[in-house]
């Protein structure tokens, strides 16, 4: 059974509709106890990182998700959910879940340090369809998805993992933007698979039938 974490940070319905469309049974819950026995979790989210962290603490999901990851159980984060599984976010200067080592930084800051976008042609948010290039051998979660397929991105902050080996796919937006990150039983999708048409649905299908091994979660 697949579980969807509902912590009042939006985008829940889209994920539900996508799983319905591909025939995947799921439980959606605001209660940790109702998700405890799931085989895998989907951790969605749109909005502000500090607000989302506050909601996670209120609902008890912060410690639940940390324990889940420590036990090597499968979890994918989507969009904001893909960001707050890292250590820290500049959005509201908030400590996040720390399931994968790294930080979430604003595009403008990362561009500035790399001398990119001095003329301001690149806009924030990074919003729209962008294609992804595979890195570090790609991921089984991308099976059946041709490289350079387009996915729907909406974000102003960008994942900066400590270990570049966890990045399985990049999008190009001034810098190489981590689009798919995988570490042990945890994976992160910066784009919205549930809003990315056929290939997005393929990713959700792959995840819901995959047996993500406990793997090395030292990243």
């Amino acid at each position: 059974m697949t579980g969807i974490v509902d912590y009042n940070a939006g985008n829940i319905r889209s994920v539900e509709h996508a799983l319905d469309a591909i025939g995947v049974p799921f439980v959606l819950s605001k209660k940790t106890g109702e998700l405890q026995n799931c085989d895998r979790l989907i951790f969605p989210g749109v909005g502000d990182a500090s607000y989302a962290m506050q909601q996670l603490k209120l609902t008890g999901f912060d410690s639940f998700l940390k324990d889940w990851a420590a036990a090597g159980r499968p979890l994918i984060g989507i969009c904001l959910g893909s960001q707050i599984i890292f250590d820290h976010s500049e959005e509201g200067d908030v400590t996040c879940l720390g399931l994968i080592k790294g930080n979430i930084r604003h595009f403008a800051d990362v561009w500035k340090e790399n001398g990119i976008n001095a003329d301001g042609t690149l806009k924030v948010p990074h919003m729209g369809w962008n294609d992804i290039a595979y890195e570090n051998g790609g991921s089984p979660l991308l099976d059946g998805v041709p490289e350079h397929s387009n996915f729907y991105f909406v974000h102003s902050y960008v994942i900066q993992p400590d270990d570049g080996n966890v990045v399985k796919a990049y999008a190009d937006y001034g810098i190489q933007v981590p689009a798919v990150v995988e570490c042990g039983s945890i994976a992160a999708f910066q784009f919205h698979p549930e809003k990315s048409g056929t290939y997005g649905m393929q990713i959700l299908r792959n995840y819901c039938k995959a047996d993500l091994s406990k793997g090395d979660a030292s990243c």
Binding site: A21, M127, G128, H155, K195, S196
Partner: protein, 254 residues
């Protein structure tokens, strides 16, 4: 590379898709859910639904329609019309929309942009702007509300910049003068707004042929182009438009 987006707008009135010319004489052109599903199959990048009577009659967002669309269409879509409170925004997002478009209500209560962006993120808050040429305004364009029926004292450029500073993550820029006329987008207006803000700008109003979209992207510097009549009754498919843009060297999602 980030692609230029083709967005189809469905004006909704009493649960049906409708289309007018210069915001007038609306005609029923079909079921919005069926139309959305067909455009999704054709490869449209995004959809916008406007409840065009909502501001005039005070109705809330059209939640049932949103849920039906969300169950069949797996691309982002935005909903506008009658969204006047944080609760309206929340219910629209929870029904399956990716974004909300604030137009008349944002003019009435700019704080809604700020509050909405704080809770739901800037990327969720789209400013819908209806502008018409007016040489007495500093930028040469004036803002109208309530589907073009009410004239405001807001200058188009100043309002766009203010809304972005409050937290709007995107602007749908509709030219009242060119809406539904199919003679091309208002490129001067589009370029001016696009160069005045650092968020994506969606050109809207006036597309009749693919060249108009190409012009919006190159001359108007738009990030996305909104179309309606071209595909509703103009004989184009999304695939055909994208193929022509691709041949013209515009990056699109094929």
């Amino acid at each position: 590379m980030l692609k230029k987006r083709i967005i189809i707008c469905l004006d909704v009135k009493d649960g049906r898709t409708t289309k007018g010319v210069k915001f007038q004489n609306n005609k029923d052109i079909g079921d919005p859910v069926e139309m959305a599903a067909e455009y999704y199959r054709q490869g449209v990048d995004e959809l916008v639904f406007y409840d065009i009577m909502a501001s005039a009659s005070g109705r809330g967002p059209i939640l049932g329609l949103i849920a039906r669309v969300a169950s069949q269409v797996f691309i982002p879509f935005c909903v506008g019309g009658g969204i006047g409170t944080l609760e309206d925004i929340r219910s629209t997002i929870l029904a399956g929309a990716e974004k909300v478009s604030l137009n008349s209500q944002a003019v009435k209560n700019p704080d809604l942009i700020k509050q909405g962006a704080r809770i739901f993120g800037n990327q969720c808050i789209v400013l819908g702007m209806d502008a018409a040429k007016d040489d007495s305004m500093p930028s040469g364009y004036r803002i109208y509300t309530n589907g073009g029926r009410i004239k405001t004292e807001l200058d188009a450029r100043e309002w766009a910049q203010k809304a972005v500073s409050l937290g709007a993550g995107e602007i749908v820029l509709n030219s009242i003068d060119t809406d539904g006329v199919r003679q091309g987008y208002e490129l001067t207006l589009t370029r001016m707004i696009s160069e005045s803000v650092d968020v994506p700008v969606i050109a809207s109003g006036g597309a009749g042929v693919t060249q108009h979209l190409a012009d919006a992207f190159t001359k108007g510097k738009a990030d996305a182009a909104l179309i309606a009549t071209m595909v509703h009754s103009g004989g184009y498919t999304v695939g055909q438009i994208k193929k022509e843009l691709d041949a013209d060297g515009i990056p699109v999602r094929l």
